[in-house]
Symmetry: C2
Subunit: 378 residues, 2 copies
């Protein structure tokens, strides 16, 4: 179901065909944590900004409204009115970053809900069950994401457990997909490579999970505090051990620059809260660097955020002055406009990357694009 | 420019032709205080929910971003990208309800900005100048809106000053509309009837301002604490003294029931924050009363807010369960959906009222509609 259409160096131009439609890669998934994009974007807006994949968070949806509720309503696609692919994370990352008082055992993790303090247990089987209830297109394996400053021995033991958890995830998903009453019986499973910044743990783990013949592979545990150079290095040493015939997903990354560098290192899938979070703070992406729309300089600026931008906000001619005013007046419309523009920027960047790969000109595109992005102030 | 198309009893079916297009009355104006509808609706959304007139607030826009800024950007229409009619209030109501430390003199009012505490002076000339800078379709005269519990003598003196202010407004607008560099030289002026709950002050004032041959007349100072019956009574005694050949605007009113009763008493224009404010609190209008979407009963309810509703949210099939979840998860999308539905409900109610008047069946429509609206819980 994953076709490798073209390569340039290690960069891949791929196509993943799913029950919810085709995903052209490299792709940036738009983060819809609680089954909605922050800033007030609905499924129809996602169509308009050319989103290919929405990413929803298992942990958040398990806690509220509850995956059983979503299941009763026919799964996430029916719930959100979004019929294109959805990826759900495993809940692991949130368990380790958001929840209080977690306790890790071989079986899984006990933690307290950040909403109501309720005690929750989640292990590989629970995560798979929840994601099956959510009926996403792609489920992620349940893993531990060790801290970026974790010691070698801790990371090694953690990764070994993550591998055992991955096998349990695979078995549980096979069982769930075979059930009569499962909403999406063709749910895909991506495994997650971990190993912190330790080359040998990363590569050993990559080799091990590559043998499990999963539907895709993620590199997790990056963009959690290490430098960009460390991240690129880990990709350099790890990705070659993941099957080239399967999509590769770099979790939680990143800036436009990070994405271009990671594509160059063989990554297909990305997700990150940057475009929506930065949008909500009025930091807007343009081809010539970031535009800080709250600055006084834009008070009477009639231009769109970026001239020639095809996003719905720029296309309709809403001015920098109006958007600045909306943010300063705390109008929700300002957040909506900024998030819409930024997500379009990312989605469009991926289109440009795919086009460059199609033309066999990615390497030249990369140089040119990184130069432009480096020039601050649009 | 105002055509009285049809009457039924005192109810009027009218049409006001403006430089920004035709307004079919009775009409409900959608409140866009700071040049945006709260809840994240843009001008394109207003088109979709069939808004005829947007109402912006002079006081808010004067304070932020400043009417000079809006003027530099070509006026409110260009600023908001909304090319249909806009009515601006005079700032008077906000001066008397929001601002601190106000001091009223014959010249006008000195008050402190609620944003930064800056001392501001506003009188009839200032209000007209600001509204001319904003370049709205319809400007409102600068008036004092006395408290609903104000004594007879205070109200009488206040209304006399409001009449003097009205004449100054008319003169100032004539001067502004004649200027070469005025954005909208065809700006209309509506005068405002005041008088609290005192019949004789109301009627005397109505007679006086009727003689000024303004473009329209508003009844102000209602829905500020008096009972519905008092409000209907004031309309009963006042509206007959306003010219039937001019549009009549009941400011800040109200519930669907209030609107239907007021149409029956000869009112053409309405505005109210109820639909957007109630929407943001999850209280949704339906033909069978209010639906409180946050209730647990809707947790797994797959139905739209109202079956058969033509609003963008119901039409696209977003479920009560999803909208409830969005509100509970503090997702901006929930507010957007609720406001959109409620404004559509109001806009659609006005369409039904106009249709009933066109058919000569308003009286039967009124009875039927009020009965249905009285049945709580959709």
């Amino acid at each position: 179901m994953y076709q490798l259409l073209k390569t340039e160096g290690r960069a891949k131009r791929g196509r993943l065909t799913t029950v919810h439609g085709v995903i052209e890669t490299p792709v940036f998934m738009n983060v819809a944590t609680a089954a909605a994009i922050k800033g007030g974007l609905g499924a129809d807006d996602l169509m308009e900004i050319r989103t290919q994949v929405a990413l929803c968070n298992t942990y958040h949806l398990h806690v509220r409204p509850g995956d059983e509720v979503v299941r009763k309503l026919g799964g996430l696609h029916s719930f959100m009115k979004w019929d294109r692919p959805i990826l759900t994370d495993s809940g692991g990352f949130q368990v380790f970053s958001l929840a209080d008082l977690r306790k890790i055992k071989e079986e899984g993790v006990t933690f307290k809900s950040h909403v109501d303090g309720a005690r929750i247990f989640m292990g590989p089987e629970e995560s798979m069950q929840i994601q099956s209830n959510l009926a996403s297109t792609i489920a992620m394996a349940f893993d531990e994401c060790p801290s970026s400053v974790a010691e070698y021995d801790y990371v090694k033991a953690s990764v070994e457990r993550t591998t055992r958890w991955l096998i349990r995830c695979r078995n549980k998903m096979a069982e769930l997909n075979a059930r009569e009453d499962t909403i999406n019986k063709a749910q895909l499973l991506f495994g997650i490579n971990q190993g912190g910044i330790y080359d040998d743990i990363r590569t050993d783990h990559a080799k091990q999970i590559a043998e499990l013949e999963l539907d895709g592979y993620a590199v997790g545990g990056l963009a959690v505090g290490e430098t960009h150079e460390q991240m690129y290095h880990i990709l350099d040493v790890t990705v070659p051990y993941l099957p080239v015939s399967k999509p590769v997903y770099l979790m939680g990354v990143g800036t436009p620059q990070n994405i271009i560098e990671a594509v160059d290192r063989g990554v297909d899938f990305f997700d990150c809260v940057y475009p929506s979070r930065n949008g909500r703070h009025g930091n807007l992406y343009t081809g010539r660097g970031t535009l800080h729309i709250r600055r006084a300089a834009y008070e009477t600026d009639e231009r769109p955020i970026e001239e020639g931008c095809g996003c719905p906000v720029c296309r309709k001619g809403y001015s920098r002055a109006y958007i600045r005013h909306l943010l300063k007046a705390d109008e929700a419309l300002g957040l909506r406009f900024c998030v819409m523009h930024n997500l379009w920027f990312y989605n469009d960047l991926m289109q440009q990357i795919r086009d460059a790969l199609d033309r066999g000109e990615f390497s030249a595109f990369k140089r040119r694009k990184l130069d432009k992005l480096a020039s601050e102030n649009a």
